[in-house]
C-alpha cells in the first residue's frame, strides 16, 4: 500500500502538507509533513508533489512520477526542489495508521489528486 499522487490534477493548495503536519504535530503546522507540494519554481508555474516514504523520495511531476531511492545519488540535473533536502530528514509516510480518518492527505485534498494504491 502507498500513496499515489496525480500531479496534473493538483492545484498546489498545500492542504495535504497541512493535513500531514497536523497528523505529526497535533496542531496546524507544515513543519514535519512528509508530503509537500513543491512550489519553488513559481515564475515558471511548475509544480507537483514530493512524498517521503521509508526508502524512497517520490517526486510526482506533472509529466510523470519518479521514484528516487534514498541514499543513491540523485541526478543533479533533476533535483526536484529546494524542499527535497529537508524532506529527507523527516519521518516517512506511515499512511496515518493512527488516524481515525486514515490517510489525512487523501481525505483533505479538495480535488482528489491523492489516493491510496494497493
Amino acid at each position: 500500500m502507498g500513496i499515489k499522487i496525480d500531479a496534473l490534477k493538483c492545484t498546489n493548495c498545500m492542504a495535504c502538507e497541512m493535513a500531514c503536519g497536523y497528523h505529526r504535530d497535533d496542531g496546524f503546522a507544515f513543519l514535519s509533513a512528509c508530503i509537500v507540494p513543491y512550489r519553488a519554481r513559481e515564475k515558471k508555474d511548475y509544480f507537483g508533489v514530493l512524498l517521503k516514504e521509508e526508502d524512497s523520495l517520490v517526486v510526482a511531476r506533472p509529466e510523470g512520477t519518479e521514484i528516487n531511492r534514498i541514499g543513491e545519488e540523485a541526478d543533479p540535473d533533476k533535483e526536484a526542489d529546494a524542499s527535497a533536502k529537508p524532506m529527507l530528514l523527516r519521518e516517512a509516510c506511515d499512511l496515518c495508521e493512527d488516524m481515525k480518518y486514515g490517510p489525512m492527505c487523501v481525505k483533505i485534498c479538495p480535488v482528489d489528486a491523492i489516493s491510496v494504491a494497493e
Binding site: L8, T11, N12, C13, M14, A15, M18, A19, Y22, D25, D26, G27, F28, A29, F30, L31, R39, A40, R41, E42, K43, K44, D45, Y46, F47, R61, P62, E63, A82, S83, Y101, K107, I108, P110, V111
Partner: protein, 436 residues
Amino acid sequence: MEYLSNDKILVVDLAKGDVEEEELSEELVAERIGGAGVNARLYKEYADDDPIVLGVGLLTGSMYPASAASVLTAKSPVTGKLCHCPVTLKVGIEIKYAGFDYIVIKGRSDKPVYLWIHDGVADIADAADVWGKDVWETTDAWRKGVGDDLLQTMVIGPAGEKGLDCAQVCYNYWTGPDRFGIGKLFGQRNLKGMAFRGMGLLEAAEPEDFVDEAFELLEAVKGNAFMSKKGLGPICAALGEADAEEWLSPVVHRHSADYFTPYATNTFAFIDEDPAAVTETAKPEPGVLISDIPALLAFKKLGLSALDAAKAMQACARQGVDPMAAATAGEKGGKTSIDDILSQVAATTEPAAMEGNGVFSPWCPRKPIFGDFGASDTDAWWERRQAVAAIFGIQPVFAVMCPQLTEESMISLSNIGGELELDQETLDTVIGDIAG
C-alpha cells in the same frame, strides 16, 4: 490569545527604525474577532500615525477550507476610507506561520527599507539595492538573499515608489486585490515591501473536534458542481462572459489555488512558451499568474487577444500597477494596440474607478459566482461577504462562490479552535463597524 494565534502584535516605527511586540489579548479577540476587525481597532489606536495595519484572520492557515487570506488595512488614498485589502496566494498564511498576528506600521523611514519577518523575529532591513527595481527583480533578490525560494513577499514596483494612486502592493510576482493605492502608501513611507517565512505551529483548543467539523464542511463543499472546474475561464462564464472562457483558452497553462482553497482561482497564462507544455520550461519567465478577473475582462473589452492581455498583466505585475487602472487608462486614451497599452502601463497614474463603497476590493467579482446564496440585494450581500472573509481570513473569491462556508460555521470553528464564545451578535457588530 493562546490558540489559532501567535499571541503577538508587532508595532514597527519606520521613523525611529525600531520594532516592539505586544501580546494579543483574548479580550481583543473576543470583541473584535480577528483580521479586519482587529486591524480597524489597531488603526484607531494608532490613528495619529495614520498606520498601515496587516493582520491575519482568526482562521487563517487552519484546516477551515479556504482559510488562505490575511488583510491589509489602511486609509486609502483613492477612496479616503479605511479599506481592507485581502492578502492572497500563500502570502496570507505565511504571515501567521512567520510568527505574528498583527503588524502595525507607522512613521516614514528616511531611507528605503523592507520588513523581514521570520520565525517570530522582525527586522527592518535595508532596501537600497532594490529601490528602483521592479516587483520581479525585488522578490528574486530577496529570495536569493536568504537562499529560500519559498519566501513570500509583498512588494511595490516603480509606481509605488513614485507615489502614484494606481500603485499596487503585489504578492510575490503577481498583481492582487489592491485597488486602493496601498502601494502608494508603502512608497511614501520608503517601504519597499515585506518578506515572510516561518515554520510555526498553531495550536487549536480542541483539535479533533475542529478537524471533524472542518472535514464535514469540506465534504459539503466538494459536493458543489463547480468543483469539476478550475481557473478563471469558468468563473468568467458564470459571470455572464461566456465567450471569455474560449478567448482565454489559447494561453492557459495551469490553474492553481490559494492555500487550501478548493477551487483554483488563479490561472497561469504562458506568453512565450507553449501553454500545453507539461515538463518544466527552460524559459525563466514564460508568463503571468492572473487572479484579477475584472481587469482581465477589461483588457478583453479593449479588443486585446488573450495573449496580449497576458502581456499587459505581466507588465502591470512588474511595474506594480493595478491592471484595472492600466486598462481604464488605456480605454480613456483610446489605446487598442498592445504596444500602446504596454507603454501605457508605465505611464498610468490615475486609479481605476471604484465600484462599491470603497472599503472592500472590487478585484473580487461583485456577485455570486456559481453558488446560489439567495441574496436579494447583491451589493449589501457582497459587502457583508467580503467583511466576513476579511475577519476570519477566507479567500474572498471563494467566499462569493461557496454557500456552505457560512458565518455560523466560521463562528463555530473559531470557538472550537480558539476556546472562545463568539456569537452572531459580536460578528454583526464587527461587520457593522468595518463595512463603512
